[in-house]
Symmetry: C4
């Protein structure tokens, strides 16, 4: 009886896996596997339950090998085996599946080999939200960041040679050679300050104080650059995501390209799962919504109204009535465009025709609901 | 004789309490209670004055139970007992009133049970100014912040497994298992650097240096994201608060919506208690004020002029006369709109009619005062 | 013979002192005095040269008492003694002059009393450039900053009570009471991390890790708020300083108020001492200069041309000729308005008449110099 | 046989060296030299291979002396010896060539003298990308930065004297004099926190807590100022670099100055080496490219098209076709101007004629390729 249920589930899982997305079981395997690996290194835990611990680890490994096999097969079906194997995802999959067995084959101890299970975490990387955005910031700001990194290295070397020279006679153990002094310098310049290696001579401390203050400066520059880059990228990202959606709302179609650019600058995109409450009756409202894709249900007294792509709702809040008049819930995965009160007023001022359309529609609905 | 005074005070306190705001006695009870709890844990203090210490704590607790009872009663009167108990405020109130007694009932030691008095601090949370603003920033920027957090965790795990592998033979005590290494990694990646656990092998230190520098990077991204989000939120918040007030000033009523949006962008809202000096005679002035609500008193030579909602003052400073000519004091709680010299000039350029009105009014007043 | 020289110098010094500005000797006395006080606490230095060290300190103190007397006298002459004594400056002056003698009078040891000489540093505060700007940022952003501070305190108390509860049995010495735990929490939450007090139990470390990560978050918010406030304040400050100067340049007088606001947004104010080289012949040029006040000398081949208030120079760099053609040196203290290449081009586009004036003047000069 | 090859290579190297740029061999010598110097201080490494280590160091030194000689000679040829010697580059070159020999001549130990080889790193400074930009930020923001530095010093001195006073009796070893307390204060205020010197009295810890929290504040201000300055500088730098390139693209020549300023604000400059793939077939495209200088090759099916200065490509991505249709590779060192999808749409709205030109050219190419 269970087979007819398992088969389609497995088929669906295989297709999802082949689509190279992380499936829910894959996420679970990563989390469970890595935590179990951590447990494996704790002696009391290992000794009392090493069968269980190892069982879980082998199960996770089997899962990843299985995943790798499915992906290889699907890739082979479309004659892209090599391109898959050479892609970031392919390399990670291969490493995750074979690192531990290979280590064992090369004679590593069992508990040492399992440490490589930490690589499974890398599988999560492509699924991190906003990673692409962060990478773009790093690429666009790479020149000043590199510049700060070089200044960091310069201070590191100059500081550590100076302190080595000043402290080597007093503390030959810790400042006796430049690599040790470099260790001190890194610990100091990043303001970590373990305190395992500390200058004690007055001049050594003076140099150390300069290194610390330089550390603050380097850090400030670093943060300033990233903040600047991030602000620019956020603006750009928001615009792109929104432009695409705006073009799908018939409401804005009548506007000229200049007005559309204006509107796009003002709207914020919001992706929601199904059955999410967007507006709660009686709440304070300060924005209205356009449906780029999906469907919502407005829970009016006595009846339920369904709104689909291109419709808008919540406009009452912007036309003087602050309290929300009805619950609104998504019925499908939906992408909404949010127009804040702030921007609605600017928009009204610049494009009175748009404001009139919203006004007219609001009036029409009010009459209808009476 | 004291009864007739106490009764209305108590009634007023009960109404204020029922309104679910933190009353002044409640703030006092939180501060005194928590500080006394801290004292309770200090042996000499406890031994010399434990009757006093416990007395204060029981008094505070009684206060919070009393507060809880009042709120329950008022909630019951409007048939909202359950919704109160399930709200954030209700849950906190209940926890604050019953955590310590419950702990005592379950057999905890007296000094241990009183530690739970630290929960009283949570009562202050809803009263923190600007908390809503901070929460909006965190919500709007949640995707990139989550992304940075995941990168943080990734570096944490990869770094700690690597250092565990490199250091476990040299320092089995501190790097002998991955949880210990994770502790080291958190301490290092946040640049806290206690120095209780420090790598000593060259390779271990190299990995540690990379972890530290990554720490700076993660921190920089984190700050950059929050700074970006905060800048956007500040702009929005200011606009919203000001728009509301601008609409109450008849002076701006004649402007079209586009001009009002312009003006709103320029004004800053300022809430002042009664009897606050706004302008001191002889000071350098660089802004003018509109009264959104409240009342001020202008202390002219020989007479006092009272200005109310919709009036403006301090415009002389913007029309060439830099020194303030009179003291201006609020007589009620007032909300003022501040127009900086900078923005006044931009406004004059864009809306000459508005500038003329201000100019005419200023001239009229000057004549009147001569 | 020396008297005739000393008397006017002394008179000048007294007038400068009475003007309540820090005079150069006062700065010297602060720096020398504080460094000598530091020296006083070092035993070997004190023992070998305590006559010298004390002599210098008494000399500095005498200077500050003398300064205080002069100011009191001048204040008395204009019947403002009390207002001087109650002002920030007056309080600091009084404290600097009498703190050490009073401490000695109350029986403090000599070396202890002199420690109060550190107060002399506070005299420098009102002279810090840009302090007013920093204060404005702190005032304007005070609500969110306070909010972050309260969150900081909340985490501090919750974290320290939790760690006290978890660690008190294992480390009664360091976590035995809440004040000790609070010390640990401050050290951790600011990411200082001395390592004198460190949790050792697994749960204690987990709470500590959360406190550290919260520390990063609090810090990021803090920085974000300050960065936002600072950006706004810089824009405002620049505009104000520039507007004042622009109005003094006849060149811009013909522009309407909207254009002046535009120009003001683009110009940067620069204050230069006399005999400063502004342009070096042969350098790459990317800006032009307007003289708001002062005088400059253009070192042309064969002759020297002097330009005064309202004139402009360096415009060649913006009209295609990148190399500077002559040295330009200030002859007086001057305030220049700098127009960057970037902004010049925007200005040309928006106000073609202005561009033509610059162009015509440039051509005229070129012909003249041929 | 080798001579005919070596001679022109040497000549080319000498010319490159005389041009005062860092040549690739110079970079190599710096990196190898400094790393070898680090090795020299490690006892085991030095003892087993000191001939090798010293050989490498002498070789590097010889190289730098040789470089210095070439530059002196070329400078002498153009009668600029003195100006070369007095320039930053000349001083660094001289120091790098003669510091170690001079130290040896003055009787320093061999291993001590070689420590000066760390100065070689300074040679890299003028080659750091974006250094000029960082310097401009520091110069423009110097007033507020100085202000923060003075506040830093103020807290440093006040804090250390206070803690010295409070802790000197309990810990005479570490807080017995103010310089030691200053060391503690620097370590604390920069949030480094070695933990070698820690206050233990309750009052001392309270002052320390205030110093730490001030540390966060100072740091936040510092970062905020740098972030603000950096944002402004980035905008300016980008505009300048782009303006220069835009003027070389005939395509934009027809636009008026206002439109050119608009376009310049939107374009991003990108410098690419030869043989770099710009567009990969099948990728998602979100920008188009203009060639400011250089040459690219478009790999169309069946033929290769070469585009040179002034041409544009990748416009399909902006006209609805998201997938890139062909590989595009640079054939020379090229400077490209990138127009993002975001900005293209704004540009279309504001300058419809420009959009039409792009549209027409795109249509023409499409027909041609069919």
């Amino acid at each position: 009886m269970s087979k007819p249920i398992i088969v389609p589930v497995l088929a669906q899982f295989m297709t999802a896996t082949a689509g190279r997305n992380m499936t829910a079981p894959a996420y679970a395997a990563v989390v469970v596997g890595v935590l179990t690996m951590v447990l494996l290194t704790v002696n009391p835990a290992y000794e009392t339950a090493h069968h269980w611990v190892q069982g879980v680890l082998w199960a996770c490994l089997t899962f990843f090998v299985f995943e790798w096999l499915i992906r290889i097969r699907y890739a082979a079906m479309s004659h892209r085996t090599l391109s898959y194997l050479m892609s970031f995802r392919g390399l990670v999959d291969t490493a995750c599946a074979f690192a531990v067995p290979l280590a064992l084959a090369f004679g590593a101890q069992l508990r040492t080999a399992w440490l490589l299970a930490v690589l499974w975490l890398v599988k999560v990387v492509p699924g991190i939200p906003g990673l692409r955005q962060l990478r773009r910031v790093l690429v666009l700001e790479s020149r000043p960041l590199l510049s700060v990194l070089l200044i960091f290295l310069l201070i590191l070397f100059l500081g550590s040679v100076a302190v080595h020279f000043l402290e080597r006679d007093v503390q030959p153990q810790t400042f006796g050679n430049v690599p040790s002094a470099l260790w001190w310098a890194v610990v100091t310049l990043t303001t970590t300050g373990y305190g395992d290696v500390v200058p004690v001579t007055p001049l050594g401390r003076l140099v150390a104080a300069l290194v610390m203050i330089s550390g603050l400066g380097v850090f400030g520059l670093w943060t300033g650059i990233l903040a600047t880059g991030f602000a620019a990228e956020t603006r750009r990202d928001n615009f792109l995501r929104t432009w695409e959606s705006v073009s799908k709302v018939p409401f804005f179609a009548s506007l000229g390209p200049s007005a559309i650019a204006d509107v796009t600058h003002m709207l914020r995109t919001m992706d929601l799962p199904a059955r999410t409450m967007i507006i709660r009756k009686g709440q304070q409202g300060d924005c209205m919504y356009f449906i780029a894709s999906g469907e919502v249900e407005v829970d009016l007294p006595g009846k339920k109204v369904t709104l689909a792509d291109g419709a808008f709702f919540g406009e009452m809040a912007l036309l003087g009535n602050n309290r929300r008049g009805a619950n609104v819930i998504t019925t499908k995965v939906s992408r909404l465009l949010v127009l804040d009160l702030v921007d609605f007023r600017l928009l009204m001022a610049r494009h009175p025709d748009l404001a009139q359309t919203i006004d007219a529609e609001a009036r029409r609905r009010e009459l209808e609901n009476k």
